[in-house]
Every structure is written in C-alpha cells, then in structure tokens.
Symmetry: C2
Subunit: 320 residues, 2 copies
C-alpha cells in the first residue's frame, strides 16, 4: 500500500524526520541537531539523508510513500511551498523547499510553518481531538498560532493567518521582534518574560533577590522558567511578572473568543508546562474580556503533544 507518510520538522535547534503509517502513527524517527553554519543547503542535505534512512530502516522504498509533510520554524508561503525566512538559521531566504523536495524525493510535498503544523497536530493527535473550532497558541521563544474553523486551518489569502503573537495588546508597549510595539509576543513570550524579569530585577534589586538567587546569582541567567518557579514559592515580584503575563494573554484570548467563538484554546510551547499557576488565573482573567456566551463555550487547555508536537504536526500536514 502506498500510504506511508514522510514527516519533517525543521527547527532552529534540531531537525527531525519520521516515517508514519496512513493513520499517522510514527514507526521510525531520527533527530539531529541543526548545524546553523551549514545553512539551508546543508540542512536540506541532512533532511534527505534522514528521509532515506528512516524509509530503509522500515524496510520500505520511497515508492511506498504517499506524501511528505514539512513543518518549518519560520514564515512559509504555503501556496508555493517556499520558505521565506528563518529567524534562527542563515541561508533560508526564499528557499523553494517544496519544489526541492518534490524533485529530490519524487513525492508530493506540503510545507507550512511550525505553528500551523502544531495546530493541525494538536487537532488530530493532541488536546484538540474531536474539536472543529479551535485556536492554538504556541508560547516558546516567540509566540506563534493557528486557527481552525470547522476542522480546516485558516490560512488567509496570502497564507499568513494565525499571527496571534503580533496582536497589539499594549499601545506603546515593548519593541517586538517584528519592529512594532506592544505585540503579545513582546510581553508574553518566554524570551519576553525573561527580559521583563531581568529589567525588573535590575530596577528593584531588593524585591528581585529571590529571582537572582534562583538563577544562580546571575541576573542574566533569569528566564521565564525562573519567573514561574519563584512565583510558585510566593515571591511578590515574580508573581507580579506572572500577573502581567496573564493579563495580556487574557486580553488577546478574550478578544479571540469574541471573534471566533472557538470550542478550545490550546496553549502549547514551553510556557504551557507550568500548569495551574498559569491556567487558573488565565481562565479567570479571560472572563473579564470575553462575552459570556463565547466564554462559557471555550475551554482553555494545555497542549498534549509536548516535545513531539513538531514532528506530529508535520505528519498532520501530510494527512490534511
């Protein structure tokens, strides 16, 4: 049967290739660190090498593979399968990744950004199973997102829909990686929480003592993980940083509920693993922003796929 799936997750720190069956169950998988200095060309070579290896390892040949799904850690023009940019690895400007893979592997290929892949992955295999209308928010280094309506990913007219991280939540707020000010990402991403904490500690050394201690005495080592861990111990400054994070996340999510009336808001990425210290106040704060009917209709839950979200998302892309 020609219904095997090749899935590829291309990130800034690691590249993963998996072989999945027609149900999306991964049978063989390989993972290697991304070598930044070898750029796009080197990265593609490694992906092809792993692809051939996982297929061989499964005792198959490429003729038994139906489709290739690729989730890429950066903006992609889905219509042409072109990677527009990587924020982490040089050399990925305007790379026609779909065309290259289709030529090299001779298989129909779909390429999308990792946030859309993650949305499809959670919808098919994770917290979104059974839901048709959902929003996925990945809070890691940055903030990515995806929107699903009636079981279909919303891609928009030029395939850039889902940029939840660049919702303006605070006018004249912090400068964002996109060049604008006050985006959700500029306050609530893992990187931004860490930056805000380091700024707060520098401004209030006394109040920040617990945060600095938890980071081994080095202000520069304070991360978003430090903030949530220290807040859980009852530290006031860390809790204030968590409160601010919750406040702006709730503003963005509440507005999303009013607009889209989804059944689920799935929060993935590193931040989703902190548990109730985030989710309980977040649900409460969303209530202040959302209208009553969409608020009651929506569950705000952590993602389920964790470390495997990327590669399962790529599988879901191929199965879409």
């Amino acid at each position: 049967m020609v219904n095997w799936i090749l899935a590829m997750d291309v990130g800034g720190t690691k590249q993963t290739v998996a072989l999945a069956d027609g149900e999306g169950q991964i049978q063989v998988q390989q993972r290697r660190p991304t070598e930044r200095e070898s750029g796009a060309e080197g990265g593609i070579e490694v992906l092809l090498e792993m692809a051939h290896e996982v297929v061989a390892e499964a005792g198959l040949t490429l003729t038994e593979v139906a489709r290739v799904g690729i989730g890429f850690g950066g903006p992609v023009d889905v219509r042409t399968g072109t990677v527009l940019l990587s924020h982490h690895v040089p050399g990925w400007e305007n790379v026609p990744l779909r065309a290259i893979m289709e030529e090299k592997l001779g298989l129909p290929t779909v390429v999308d950004n990792d946030a859309n892949a993650g949305t499809l992955g959670e919808a098919r295999f994770g917290a979104g199973r059974g839901a048709e209308d959902l929003v996925y928010i990945n809070i890691g280094t940055g903030i990515g997102g995806g929107i699903m309506v009636k079981g279909q990913l919303v891609r928009g007219v030029t395939t850039t829909a889902g940029e939840i991280g660049h919702t303006t939540v605070k006018e004249d707020g912090p400068l964002c990686t996109c060049g604008k000010r006050g985006c959700l990402e500029s306050i609530c991403s893992g990187d931004s929480i860490g930056r805000r904490a380091r700024e707060a500690v520098t401004a209030q050394p006394n109040a920040g003592r617990a945060l600095v201690e938890a980071a081994g005495g080095q202000v520069g080592a304070i991360t978003s993980e430090t903030v949530f861990a220290v807040a859980a111990q009852g530290d006031a400054l860390a809790q204030a940083l968590v409160d601010e994070t919750v406040h702006y996340l709730a503003l963005a999510i509440g507005n999303l509920l009013n607009l889209l009336n989804p059944e689920l808001v799935i929060i993935g990425g590193g931040l989703s693993e902190v548990g109730d210290i985030l989710f309980v106040p977040l649900r409460q704060a969303v209530r202040e922003i959302a209208l009553e009917v969409p608020y009651r209709a929506a569950h705000i839950v952590p993602a389920e796929l964790g470390y495997e979200a990327g590669i399962l998302g790529a599988v879901a892309l191929a199965l879409e």
Copy 2:
C-alpha cells in the same frame, strides 16, 4: 420551478419582506415601520402578512418558494433559529422564530443575526463579490461584524463568532452596552462618536463651537454625522474626534489582518458613507498595526449595498 426565496429583514425601526428569484434578484418587496409596542408577536404577524402579499403580488403561491431567510437585528442561536434578544423591541426574548415560520409557512427557514446576514449579502451581491476571505464591520448605532473564510461564514461553536464590536481596544475605556469597558463599540460606533463629541463639547465649549452650531445650537443634537461634517470643514475638535475613531478602528482592523489575513475588510453601516475622510487615514493607520504581508494583501473598502444591505443579506442567508 420551486426556487423562489422569501427574505425578511427584522430591524428595530423597520421590517422588510422580499421575494427573490433563484439568482437572488428581488422581484417584489414591502417595507413597514416596526411597531415596538406590539412586540414579537405583532412583528411576526406583520412579517407573515407581508410574506403572503409579496408572493401573491408576484402571481405565485407558497408552494413555489424554496426557502425563507431571515436576518434579525439582535443575537440569534443559529443552530435552533431562536432569537435570543432584541436590544430595540421588547418581547423578543428566546423566540423560536425559525420554528414559528416553518410552521406558519411550511417552508425551510434559516435565521441569523443581521451582521452575519450583512456579511453574506456584501459577499454575494456587494463589495465582496469574488472574495473568499473577508471581514465585514457594520458601524451603525452599535458595531456588528462577520468573518468569512474560504467563502464560508465563521459562526463558531455556539454561533456567536464575529463580535468585532466587542474587541477590547482600550483598557479601562468607556463603558460598553455589553457591560465591559473599552470595546471598539464603546468608542467607534455612531452612538459612541456622538457621545464622545457631546462630552468633548461640554468640557471645551470654546473649541466645540462649530460642532454646536452645526447641530442647530443644541449640544444634545450632536451626532456622529455632525462630527464628520464639521471635521471636513477643518474644525480641530471634530478632527480630533475623527482621529481617535480612526485610531481605535485601525487597532481592531490591524489585529484582524494579522489573525485572519483576509483579502477584504468591508465597512458598512452609516459611518461607511462618510468616504475618504474616514477611509484614507484609516488605511494609513492600519499600516502601523498590521504586519506587512497581511497589510498589503487587504483592501479596506466601503460596503456597497447601503440601505438594501439588510434585505439582500436575508436573501443571501436563504441562498447560503
């Protein structure tokens, strides 16, 4: 041929019933003022009367009508066709309008709120012809909206999607009709622009002289129309009110572009008729909020259906 359409537009000030052919062309139409004191029961009686009359006037019988589409000026549970509430006419609490019409007319009926009907109407007959991904924002007394993705209306899991008017754009902003603060509607609806103008004139009587004069010397008579008319003559206070309106509309629209990457943003309702004094600065201000790719992909345009938007929306509902 059994493909005629009965369309009904049920508003707070007027009720319209039309008979359209299978292409959606209206052949016969009646319009009567809404009698608030006769409530839902009286309103439904008038709708039925008009329905029988337009069908007879066209020389047809109900057996030649395929479907009934009803756009209602208030929240509707589309799944059951139940009107939840009218903000303008008493007696419309939890009225199973679809069931009543299906029983009385013996025809399959769809009921939705007028913002969704307007979205479908503009998409099929108006400014949205040919577009698959669009957002419709109706700025009248309040602000309603609808979202279309790949040619389908986004209704959400409990059919309340599209509440663009209740996007929080200004924390601790003015109190909104929904009970929350700083919704788009609380600043930018026709009613809110008028209210802000009257407040500004009361606070700054000198600066507000032109506004008061244009309203026949009565502060209480200043409306959003006064504001735009006086701003067009170069008045500073009126222009400041227009600027604030543009600013918050742009914030909501820019965030929508980032989220949904639509091809079109169609602005309907009374405010859309003021022309370039709104649209030129609005497009410019949206640029400050939206990311570049979705900004360049989206046209922000006035609605085209004007006074007929409601009834054509009801036709589009029946044809959906």
